[in-house]
Amino acid sequence: MKVELTVNGKEITADVEDRMLLVHFLRDVADLTATNIGCETTSCGACTVLLDGESVKSCTVLAAQADGRSVTTLEGLASDTGEMHPVQKAFHEEHGLQCGFCTPGMVMALVSLLKENPSPTEAEVRNGLEGNICRCTGYHNIVRAALAAASTGVNK
């Protein structure tokens, strides 16, 4: 079927299989490969992107379901001049990653979380990341990065 998605502000039209998953659309059609494919079973959160501004697991959304809607991937977070999003900056400053595989999903999940709750407690950050698994178990610095990003007043 023909779908038209706005990805990181750019309209992308393509003729895709009805069963194509959003994550495959992003990686293979839009050629945006920051979004990782991890478990493909809605468990790990590596493929988290924003659909109309809210976090979703793109392995469990059809491209057809996202037709006509707006998707933001990690590539779409930085400003036009290349300045990193506050959550990206905080991951950099706090060393919120080890191998980096879960990082795009973690960052997108946190951008969504901070939009809904701009000043979360540490417990709220940990609950808010229950859908994202870090295979290095490097959660402490990820949580520190989230709290640091929140303290900059992002999304307030």
Partner: protein, 273 residues
Amino acid sequence: MIPPAFTYRRASSVDEALGLAAEYGDDAKYLAGGHSLLPLMKLRFASPAVLIDLGRLSELSYVRDEGTHVAIGALTRHHDVATSLLLLADIPLLAHTAEAVGDPQIRHRGTIGGSVAHGDAASDLPASLLALDASFVVRGPSGTRTIPAAEFFRGIFETAIEPGELLTEIQVPKPANPAAWSFQKFTKRAIDWAIVGCAVQGNAVALVNMGTTPLRATAVENALASGAPIADAAALAAEGTSAGSDIHASKAYREHLARVLVKRALEEAAARS
């Protein structure tokens, strides 16, 4: 993992959805948020030839105060149930149960109607709706009917919804004492399905994953009604259940969990009320 090939059709109204269901018959499945169905399709446990996407039916996404009850559109997402100020005030059990489903990403997509129509005994919301004596409104070719929760859940992934019918609304009576609630869920990881769960509203007790459907813990309720202390009533939690054994837990362990969780839930509900 990719789902088996299917034809995607999108409904733009309830009437169109019913028309498409009539056109394709047993070959078609309704797609709401897709967070139960798409994983099943990836695993080849389901392979419908046609998916009828209900995702654009915004007319079925609402939480409405109807006086003695709250009406919830079937396409209302878990996130919207969990954050509804009306539900948090008048039926907190339901809002907090929705908050316990999956994770934030899943709650941004999954819908209350999808969860209910899926009929999985391991799901959280059906048990709470059973404890709350909710009713389910379905529309079909021959009109609309309302099914009480006690008659709705029939068996493994089986509900009282007939082929061609569509669940449109869930009606939940406001409990006399909204604060007397508790939802307990035992899982290995935060996002897992409950190994066993328990929903309490007042003296109504419902169990997650203790049989082929969500179940009322009738023996516990009867004991409470005749004045038994919580500990004695909770000891009866496994009576009348038919829990299975699987990789996560044996039947005996599930029965133990049911007794422990029912006791915790009744104590928490009593402390809140």
